[in-house]
């Protein structure tokens, strides 16, 4: 069986630590004048994105290329899916071309698990529905680990995740990763934007968790998805910003060592209403840079130690050979 990265829970604490340490090695590669190593020569990584993405897709492709893997991009809008080909047939067709890993993003929760069951290639979940986005979570904890030099874990670290928790796969995965490493996570959101069942500590008062001596160490702002406005979950964006946005007044109250994070893309003036240059603790650009190192670590971890994997082509050959032998 091939190995896949589908969720933080399935990766486990030991797996998270393994990826983070591997990411240190990859970050050193990325600092070189020629940031490329031959580690995954001959491997093919195919990205299949059923939802729009700028940074995740480019980040995965850059990561694969820096490891010398070949990359394929499946453009959903130009594909035979429009002729009615099913997801399963599509995946099996691509797999038959000889793919070692699928990077998949889909609007439906659980789609990467289905794909994983259809192919012997590794599958990386690049976001499924409201459910999980494990590589975003890994780059988030890697960013905090390097920024605060906390290689031993996050015991005692306090993290606030602020915004639309309900619709956010980033919130779920990054919360799981921070907690797995020992951090305390609090969710800050209007009750309309919390999931029906809240397993975490939650509050609707952002001012209670920031600033002063007892403020959080990490302020993780989520993107306020404009499309939610039509569902009347918040009165209007200005009121959202007043209560849950990082306004100039709140930025001034932040302790200077507080890290400010955001998964991007930032809705300027909504969840972050100050110039990022005026936020000394902002590590939002480091998150993007670290994303490449972390995704290199994930791809290398999945594709390097796979001595018993059989590619779909070999299986097809074996099936064909078995048929030939029958009278």
């Amino acid at each position: 069986m091939s190995r896949s990265l589908l969720s933080i829970d399935e990766l486990g604490v030991a797996g998270i630590q393994r990826i983070l340490e591997l990411a240190d090695t990859m970050a050193e590669v990325n600092r070189r004048p020629n940031p490329k190593v031959p580690a995954l020569r001959g491997k093919t990584v195919c990205s299949v994105f059923f939802e729009d993405s700028t940074r995740t897709r480019l980040s995965f492709e850059t990561a694969a290329k820096r490891l010398s893997a070949d990359t394929m991009t499946f453009a959903v809008s130009q594909s035979s899916l429009n002729k009615g080909e099913s997801l399963r047939d599509t995946i099996e067709t691509i797999a038959a071309m000889g793919v070692d890993a699928f990077v998949i993003r889909h609007a439906s929760t659980g789609a990467p698990w289905l794909v994983d069951g259809w192919t012997t290639a590794s599958v990386v979940n690049a976001g499924d529905g409201w459910h999980a986005h494990p590589t975003q979570a890994l780059l988030d904890v890697y960013t905090v680990r390097t920024a605060l030099n906390r290689t031993g874990g996050f015991e005692g670290l306090r993290v606030a995740v602020v915004g639309d928790i309900k619709h956010s796969r980033v919130a779920r995965s990054t919360t799981a990763a921070f907690k797995a490493l020992g951090a305390d996570v609090i969710w800050v959101a209007p009750t309309t934007l919390l999931p029906p069942v809240v397993g975490e500590t939650a509050t609707d008062r952002l001012d209670d968790v920031i600033g002063g001596g007892d403020g959080v160490d990490v302020l993780y702002m989520l993107r306020m998805q404009n499309e939610r406005m039509t569902e009347a979950l918040v009165p209007n964006l200005r009121e959202y910003t007043t209560r849950f946005g990082l306004t100039p007044e709140r930025a001034a109250r932040l302790a200077p060592q507080t890290l400010v994070m955001h998964p991007g893309p930032v809705n300027r003036g909504v969840e972050i209403a100050v110039d990022l240059g005026e936020l000394p603790g902002s590590v939002i650009n480091q998150q993007v840079t670290n994303g490449i190192s972390v995704r290199m670590a994930v791809l290398y971890d999945l594709l390097s130690a796979n001595p018993d994997s059989t590619s779909d082509i070999e299986i097809n050959d074996a099936v064909a050979a078995a048929r030939m032998e029958q009278p």
Partner: protein, 167 residues
């Protein structure tokens, strides 16, 4: 499995001292000479050689390189980088002495040479090993050897500052 100690701590220390002298002699001084230990076994030896060279003559830069991502057996067996490469000096034009504890098939050295090439173009690369146990699979030969040790291919050779043990 029986263990046989072939070098005692004093033997390792004396071999290191002799190799330090040889490195200085071969290069007619230390102009442009740097040491790079191959992760992980070569790192302690590179710093031991660096300390000896500093005692005999003058201090030279010591770095380390992890060649895991350049290996030719990725996918055949689990290959995991053990540590982050640390090369804090300019490789272009330098005379580099690659350092490893044991020279066996030569595949690690091949990988390290490829890795080094991504940092720059050295003037020359020399190879120092504490133990040459034979069984080369590539045309690679050491310039400085602590001890030539005939072994069979399935034996395990462990090298530390506390000595060399075959098991």
């Amino acid at each position: 499995m029986s263990e046989k100690r072939v070098l005692a701590p004093d033997d390792v220390r004396r071999a290191t001292t002799r190799m330090a002298h040889e490195i200085i002699e071969r290069n007619q001084g230390l102009d442009g000479v740097v040491l790079i230990g191959i992760q992980t076994g070569g790192v302690w030896l590179a710093s031991a050689l660096g300390a000896e060279i500093a005692r005999i003559d003058s201090t030279i830069p010591v770095g380390s390189i992890d060649a895991s991502l350049y290996r030719d057996d990725i996918g055949l067996r689990p290959v995991s980088p053990a540590a982050v490469s640390d090369i804090g000096f300019d490789v272009d034009g330098a005379t580099i002495v690659l350092v490893d504890d044991v020279l066996f098939t030569g595949r690690t050295v091949r990988a390290a040479l490829d890795a080094l090439g991504d940092y720059g173009r050295p003037q020359s690369v020399q190879l120092a090993v504490l133990v040459d146990r034979g069984h080369r699979e590539l045309p690679i030969r050491p310039d400085f050897v602590g001890k030539n040790l005939p072994t069979s291919g399935d034996e395990n050779v462990s090298v530390t500052a506390d000595g060399v043990v075959i098991s």
